[in-house]
């Protein structure tokens, strides 16, 4: 019940009256969310692999401030990322663009799954083609099989 109330609260009250202000205040929850997503997708150029949301580095703070400033000016996500990429390079994007350079990267899971499926389909077809049943057991093999079955004490 509690989580339901929390969720309901968040859904119907985009502008909650707070006793405190957010560090980066926004007019609406969806803008807040957009900001959070943007800063988590941008990389701090100085740190050891952190996004600018989590980093304490001064440059990360500058970048967060810039993202905030641009969003207040009405910039779209694309405009914000373009502005930062034009200054710091593609390095600061954690989500690589889909272009010639990165095509192979994005295609990897698809290619791997398709390739695997092809192999599996091929195996099934071949197994089916192997037609008849396995060769029957010879007398000696049959006796051995019975011996084995008797010796088992009701295992797996």
């Amino acid at each position: 019940m509690r989580p339901f109330l929390i969720a309901l609260w968040l859904l119907i009250m985009p502008q909650v009256v707070q006793a405190t202000t957010d560090v980066y205040p926004f007019e609406s929850a969806s803008e807040q969310e957009r900001f959070r997503e943007l800063i988590s997708e941008l990389r701090c150029p100085k740190c050891q692999n952190q996004n600018i949301a989590d980093s304490d580095a001064p440059i990360a703070k500058d970048m967060r401030d810039e993202v905030y400033r641009m969003m207040q000016d009405g910039a779209t996500d694309q405009q914000v990322t373009d502005a930062l990429v034009s200054r710091f390079g593609e390095f600061v994007l954690y989500k690589p663009d889909f272009n010639q350079r990165t095509a192979l990267l994005w295609a990897t899971p698809l290619l791997a799954v398709l390739g695997g499926l092809l192999v599996v389909v091929g195996l099934v077809i071949r197994a089916r083609q192997q037609g008849g049943a396995e060769p029957p057991l010879s007398e000696e093999e049959r006796r051995r099989a019975e011996q084995l079955l008797r010796d088992r004490d009701g295992g797996v």
Binding site: L11, K95, A112, V120, A127
Partner: protein
């Protein structure tokens, strides 16, 4: 004097490893049993000397022997004793020593617990493990000696252990992780031995399986511990960053999971042998690749050890020799002849093969994602970053697909499953999962496609697992009898799969329904998340063993009732002088409340990060289930059946062929 003894011990270990790598193998190839018999005693001796070296390094830490460079760089007299103990593996050289300790430990374990295996096989397996030990011991002695001294200028005190590492996490995470990484060397050794002697059959799969499962269990625990540690230690509430070092641990885990399942098929049905062998080699190769990535400095990571090009080059050489030679051996010696066997399109064999397809695809995804920036840089095509947003979009569908496959595959039968029967069987699980998922979505509020898919997949797995258990435990003599009758290996599977469901549910819910707020607060202020009120009651200072901390007290209330009081801190460590954030966490099975102090803003205000994290503990709980499942699986009776005398000898003399025959019952 003791450090020199430690170094000497390592040299002796190297000699023994060299003997282990050669003598038994020569004996195996030439059929001389006396030489093969050297394997076990050499393995014991190897472990003893490495353990002595490890003990001496520990002694140096505990007695504050700062004449040893490694101790001086990683310890300090003010460090609490339990951190001095774990500081042994806090840096590059010591963690390598831990690695080799575990490797020789596993080698000894194989020597001790494999009485039933033919001596030839044991000789080969131990020799291969000896070869790996030779490589790592050479690496340690030549480039990363933990016993190097700083004489005559012994520093008065040490540089202290990195404050981030002064934590319980360091005591448990690396050992568990390394047990997993190194444990896969056993499966690797079995694979190489099988390629060398040409006896690649269901028996080989059965011998490999328990070792692989144990290693996998340890790795699961190790990864979960790492995630948990990062969550409470790093101060911003994240639990997985797709950092190269984290990926380095996930890669062998994904391949290892595929391997565990592939071994099951090879053991039970004798098929997919070539593939299983390749997987065994690849899994260990990924462990080694991970070791290289973490220590070579080619990738940037919060977790990386300090890098050094000489070490990087040596390690790469070690890696190259091991992987290229084993894959070349595979290329030349793996069987190309297909085993004649029939299996239908919906048979268990095919379901498990599809499981492999998805897991290997996931592994390739993470591998390519981690190495792509390196490749592009090599080609001069610029620097690229690949992080969470990429993996969220590409990895999640694969994980969800694995879940759906799992639920259906549980009911599949070996060789042939009737499509109609399977479809009918899956109707109830489908309906129940759908209802459960919708109910959960309502409880947490808000529909999102990802949340729906993830939860549906998780519920599907859980419901199917329970339904299968219900079916199998039906018995004339009552349900309890039916339940008792199931093997431990079956319960291992049940727990393992439940673990997957639990982890997936946790990951889905916390990613989609977690709430985070960054607020500016001064003492006296309150902030709200939902109906939870966070009150910043006071600030204060306190002294720790080797740090000074500024803390804030936060009271969390709901409807006026106090739920928790948290004390997040900003610590400054005396020696290294970095400032660290310690989050205040109220842990719970259904949710965590997380408060962390950020930067000071203005005179008396702080940037505070407040988080509500539903079901986050399920992530790690699921991994625990998986590990316990693995442990149960190897405790299965069939691995402990006593061999009747003479049976082993008969099996050893039988010419190489399909199944091994009389000795052990399946």
């Amino acid at each position: 004097m003791y450090p020199e003894l430690g170094q000497f011990s390592l040299i002796l270990a190297l000699l023994l490893a060299g003997l282990l790598a050669t003598v038994p193998l020569v004996g195996a190839i030439s059929g001389r049993e006396q030489l093969q018999a050297f394997a076990r005693p050499l393995a014991s001796g190897l472990f003893v000397f490495v353990a002595i070296a490890f003990g001496l390094l520990t002694h140096a830490f505990v007695t504050d022997d700062f004449s040893v460079a490694y101790v001086a760089n990683n310890s300090n007299s003010l460090l609490p004793w339990y951190y001095k103990f774990s500081a042994v593996w806090g840096g590059h050289e010591g963690s390598l020593l831990l690695w080799i300790l575990m490797l020789t430990g596993w080698t000894l374990a194989v020597a001790v617990f494999s009485r039933r295996l033919p001596t030839v096989m044991i000789a080969q397996v131990l020799s291969v493990m000896g070869m790996v030990s030779v490589g790592f011991l050479l690496f340690i002695l030549i480039t990363s000696n933990p016993f190097d001294r700083l004489l005559p200028n012994v520093p008065a005190d040490g540089a202290d252990l990195n404050p981030l590492l002064q934590d319980f996490g360091l005591i448990v995470h690396p050992p568990m992780l390394y047990m997993g990484y190194v444990g896969f060397s056993v499966a690797f050794a079995f694979a190489i031995a099988a390629l060398i002697n040409g006896r690649l059959d269901a028996a080989w799969a059965r011998w490999s399986r328990p070792w692989t499962t144990v290693a996998w269990s340890f790795l699961s625990v190790g990864i979960a511990l790492g995630s948990w540690w990062a969550y409470y230690e790093l101060g911003w509430g994240g639990w997985w960053f797709w950092d190269p070092v984290e990926n380095a641990s996930l890669l062998p885990w994904l391949a290892g999971t595929a391997l565990v399942h592939s071994l099951a098929v090879t053991e039970k049905r004798g098929v997919f042998k070539s593939w299983t062998v390749l997987l065994a080699i690849v899994t260990f190769a990924l462990s080694l690749l991970g070791t290289f990535l973490v220590r070579s400095g080619v990738l940037t990571s919060v977790h990386a050890f300090a890098s050094d090009p000489t070490r990087g080059a040596f390690l790469l050489g070690l890696l190259a020799i091991t992987i290229v030679s084993s894959l070349a051996l595979y290329a030349f010696r793996a069987p190309v002849v297909h085993t004649r066997s029939r299996y239908g399109a919906l048979s268990r064999e095919i379901f498990l093969l599809l499981n492999n397809v998805l897991l290997v695809a996931a592994m390739l995804l993470v591998l390519v994602g981690t190495l792509y920036p390196l490749v592009l840089d090599y080609l001069g095509a610029g620097r690229l970053s690949i992080g969470e947003p990429f993996y969220n979009v590409t990895f999640s569908p694969l994980a969800i697909a694995v879940g759906f496959l799992l639920g259906a595959g549980i009911f599949s039968r070996w060789k042939r499953t009737d499509g109609g029967w399977l479809g009918r069987k899956l109707l109830w699980p489908a309906a129940i999962s759908l209802v459960l998922t919708c109910a959960t979505l309502v409880v947490y509020g808000g529909f999102s496609p990802w949340a729906f898919a993830g939860l549906l997949s998780a519920c599907w797995v859980a419901v199917a697992t329970f339904l299968d258990l219900w079916d199998k435990s039906a018995s004339r003599h009552g349900r309890w009898h039916g339940l008792k009758r199931q093997s431990r290996s079956y319960y291992g599977m049940v727990l393992g799969h439940l673990g997957v469901a639990i982890t997936m549910a946790g990951a889905t819910v916390v990613s989609n329904y977690g709430v985070e707020r960054d607020v500016r607060m001064s003492p006296g202020d309150t902030a709200e998340i939902g109906d939870l009120r966070f009150t910043f009651s006071e600030v204060g200072q306190r002294q720790g063993a080797n740090f000074v901390a500024q803390y804030g007290r936060f009271d969390i209330t709901r409807d006026g009732r106090l739920i928790a009081t948290l004390y997040p801190e900003k610590r400054q460590y005396r020696v290294q002088r970095n400032v660290m954030t310690e989050a205040g966490i109220d842990a719970g099975l259904t949710r965590d409340l997380f408060v962390a102090l950020g930067e000071r803003v203005g005179d008396d205000a702080w940037a505070v990060r407040l988080q509500y994290k539903p079901l986050i503990r399920w992530l790690w709980l699921g991994a625990l289930f998986m590990a316990v499942g693995g442990a149960l699986a190897i405790a299965d009776r069939r691995y402990r059946i006593k061999v009747r005398s003479g049976a082993t000898a008969k099996a050893a003399r039988r010419p190489g062929g399909q199944d091994e025959g009389v000795a052990e019952a399946v």
